[in-house]
Symmetry: C2
Subunit: 334 residues, 2 copies
Amino acid sequence: MATIYDVARRAEVSPATVSRVVNGHANVDPTLAERVRRAMRELEYRPNAVARNLRRSRTTLWAVIISDIGNPFFTSLVRGVEDVAQRAGFSVVLCNTDEDPTKESQYLDAALTEQMAGVIISPSGRANHVNRLVDARVPVVVIDRQVSGAHVDTVLVDNEHGASLATTHLIESGYERIACITGPEGVFTAMRRLRGYRRALEDHDREYDPDLVRHGDFRSDGGYRAMASLLALRPRPDAIFAGNNLMTVGAVECLVDSRIEVPAEMGVVGFDDVPWAHLVRPSLTTVAQPTYELGREAAQLLTQRIATPDRPPTVITLETKLQIRDSSLPRSQP
Amino acid sequence: MATIYDVARRAEVSPATVSRVVNGHANVDPTLAERVRRAMRELEYRPNAVARNLRRSRTTLWAVIISDIGNPFFTSLVRGVEDVAQRAGFSVVLCNTDEDPTKESQYLDAALTEQMAGVIISPSGRANHVNRLVDARVPVVVIDRQVSGAHVDTVLVDNEHGASLATTHLIESGYERIACITGPEGVFTAMRRLRGYRRALEDHDREYDPDLVRHGDFRSDGGYRAMASLLALRPRPDAIFAGNNLMTVGAVECLVDSRIEVPAEMGVVGFDDVPWAHLVRPSLTTVAQPTYELGREAAQLLTQRIATPDRPPTVITLETKLQIRDSSLPRSQP
DNA sequence: CTGAAAGCGCTAACAA
DNA sequence: TTGTTAGCGCTTTCAG
């Protein structure tokens, strides 16, 4: 690999001049600049970002740390991040933790030791992970899940409100025994969505019954198992609110396998849109999240945090929207 | 951020000794080592990977460059890569090109300038991109799509054979006018799958009719549009072979919207499994690819390439398997 | 077994 | 406008 010295020698200038041409910083005599550019071309010179990063003590890479690369929620979000990052001159790399705190910790280490310019993270676990970044003064934005006790920019959706909308919709459509499949205990979004479900019930003078609640793993399998367990109840629930997209899919798979008709025998509303929802019969009522915008907002916060590290942290909450489709058609009266 | 000098001073040793403790390279007196470790803890010392990388002129990051992060094919593949990488002490970062050569080029630049330890790429475009890596002696493995004229490790599936199996299956199930939706012109997998389709037809003394072929974009929308265009034909096709998972989804969506019964009015076979295939009615016959293994094999080749840069390139071809489900049920005789 | 010192490739004062 | 030079933080000879 040619270095900046090789180029300098060939162009008969100093390394500093080459650096100036490469970075377009200072004014360089056009003749020299041209000579430098030619030398670069001839030597196929490519700046060594590692050396540059060391010298400048900053990099141009953002890490986006997410918990499930297989969930379209995150892939859409990542696109939002990418589009903003690119315009601001950063490259985005993705790190997939599979909801595993060990993996998350490893990627945090990588982000720290590699001196990444910034991190956008949907934290799987406790606050201390995020605080490691904050303490090390790495610009960081938390996305999707609030971290209590971390003083950090955050982008959320109105989980509780969305869940409440969904549940209210089921109530008003005439469903009587509405169950809930929420996410893992201790995960922020899972707790908020459960709270919204509960609030809606209580607002309509329904009893909140913990027996009708299951905790899944935010993946399809968990939704399937939770649904199966709910189906064993007597009396059986006649509707369910599922706390994320993949668990909705799993729950519906279970209903299909059990030959239970949706919505005739079981109303279904899910949180977050299901990919290829059109293909699923019947079409699914969901609480739609602005996933792409979530990514955009996070990326914008991150650029601002990088520009002004000492600004006070912001929390942005985006709105969800209830998309009524066929899986929650009004209950025909007996 | 504490540096190695800070630690050395506190532990009253030389930076070299700290380095030895950190890397466990040479033998260090246990007393000193303990002093160093304590100093590290007290200062929350974290080695600066940028400086280390510069000094060692190698890094510990792999880039996986893929064309569509929204396609489960790639997400499963990435998991295969991650599992191997982690064991070998590398971190994996993902780069999404959205099939855009400009983005691809940018990520290649990033991989080069950041001196990444290795690259696994599913190239969207021409050979020259990959050759930039090979020429720069960056360890690289090409995955999913062969690059003609690049002397490089490659992991593929038997696209032609799989496509031929799928088409033969439709023929033997009694379908008469079998159309094909393949991928973008010039994309390796698209060409091979089209060739398999054609070969199967000709092997069964059917005429290959270019009017029955459409080129989609490997995404759902493209599949939808291609299907719509095929439906305008008179006589209409009575079966289709779709060249990847998302286009299969799009094609089926189009059929649903057009109220065309599958398989009664249109047999469907897709290449690559569709996520949540259970939910799609009827269940879809597909050519299943070993996506996770694809990633594993690629990662293994990459570790070998890094260990022995001058070994001759290998091409590995994994087998696909026809998964027969309901969307291609034997045609009932008229 | 330990320390001194050179240098990875680049940038940014500072001087000329 | 250009060049000289001193590091960024780390590893790794080479002496001791």
